[in-house]
C-alpha cells in the first residue's frame, strides 16, 4: 500500500485533469482519486463524492486531500466528521496549491513515503517559482 491522494474540486473536469496530470508521475502505483463537481455534474462540491473517494483511497497508510477553493475544505471537513475515527485520523487536508501539490504528493507517495512526508512534499509546492527572474 501507499498513501492515497484525493483531489476535491468544484469542477469534475478540473479534478479529473489533476488526477491525470499527477497520475502520469505516479505510474499507477497509488490510489489517486477525483471528487469534483456536484452530484448532478454542475460546478460545486458533493459530500457523497468526497466521502466515497476518501473511503476508497484510504488504506493503512492514509490519504492526503488536495483542494481547489475554500468551500472544498469545508465539505471535506464535513465528510471527515462522518467517517469512523480510525479512518479520519489517517486523512489530512493539504494547504498546498492544487496542481503543484498533487504532482509533488503523487511522486512522494509512489516512492513509498509516509503521510507526513507526502504532506510535506505537497507543501513545498507553495514555494516553487514558475518563472525565474534573470
Amino acid at each position: 500500500m501507499a498513501v492515497g491522494i484525493v483531489i476535491v474540486s468544484h469542477s469534475a473536469r478540473l479534478a479529473e485533469g489533476v488526477v491525470e496530470l499527477a497520475g502520469q508521475m505516479a505510474q499507477g502505483d497509488i490510489a489517486l482519486l477525483a471528487a469534483g463537481g456536484t452530484d448532478d455534474g454542475s460546478l460545486g462540491t458533493s459530500i457523497d463524492k468526497v466521502t466515497a473517494a476518501l473511503q476508497q483511497a484510504t488504506g493503512p497508510d492514509g490519504t492526503l486531500v488536495l483542494v481547489d477553493l475554500g468551500s472544498a475544505v469545508m465539505i471535506t471537513e464535513m465528510a471527515l466528521e462522518m467517517l469512523d475515527e480510525p479512518v479520519r485520523q489517517r486523512i489530512r487536508i493539504s494547504s498546498a496549491p492544487l496542481v503543484e501539490g498533487a504532482v509533488l504528493a503523487a511522486v512522494e507517495a509512489a516512492s513509498g513515503s509516509n503521510l507526513d512526508e507526502v504532506a510535506q512534499a505537497a507543501d513545498e509546492g507553495s514555494a516553487m517559482p514558475k518563472t525565474h527572474k534573470t
Binding site: S42, G44, M74, I75
Partner: protein
Amino acid sequence: MPLTTADIQQWIQQSALVLHENSSYLTQLDSDIGDADHGINMDRGFQAVKMKLTNMEPADIGALLKLVGTTLVSTVGGASGPLYGTAFLRAGINTTGKQTLEAEDVVAMLDAAIEGVKARGKAQQGEKTMLDALLPAVDAARQAQSAQVTLEQVLQQTAAAAENGMKATIPMQATKGRASYLGERSIGHQDPGATSSWLLLKALADVSSRK
C-alpha cells in the same frame, strides 16, 4: 406563544418558498461578486428538504432540524451547503427532544446555529459573509429576550437586525469566501449569503406573526 414542531415545519416550508421566489435575486447578487449560483444552490437544497419533509413526521424539533441540515449538506453544492448544513445540524442538536420552543430556547438555538457557522467557515464579523447578518441577529434576539417581550417580537427584532446587518455588507470589502478573490471590487455589493440569512430569519418571524 411558544413555537411548536408544526410551526418549525411551517418555517422550513416558508423558507423553501421564499428561497424559490428569490432564487434569481440571490443569483444576481452572487453574479456581481461570486460564482453566480447562490440562488440556484439554495433553491435546490430547500426543494430537496421539502421533498424529504413530505414523507416524514418528525419526532421533535431537533430531529426535524437535523434532517434539514444533513439534506442541505448533501444537496446545496456550494459553500452555503456546509455552512447552512452545520447551522441546522447544530440547531437540531440544541433542540433535541423538544416539542416547543420558548423565547429563551429560540435564542439558544440561534446561538448554537451561528456558533456552528463561525466554526465551519472560520470567519468573523466584518468579512462580508452571512455572519454579518447572523451575528447582529442573535445579539438582537438575546437583547429582546432579556427585555421580556413576546416571542413574536423577539423574532421580529431578530429579523430586523439581520436586515440591517445584510445592508451593512454593501460597503464592506470581502475577505472570506469567493468574493474575496475580487478584492476591492467586492465593495458596493450586498452579500448574497447575508441576504439568504435574512430571508430565513424573516421567514421565521413571519411564521410566528401568523400564529
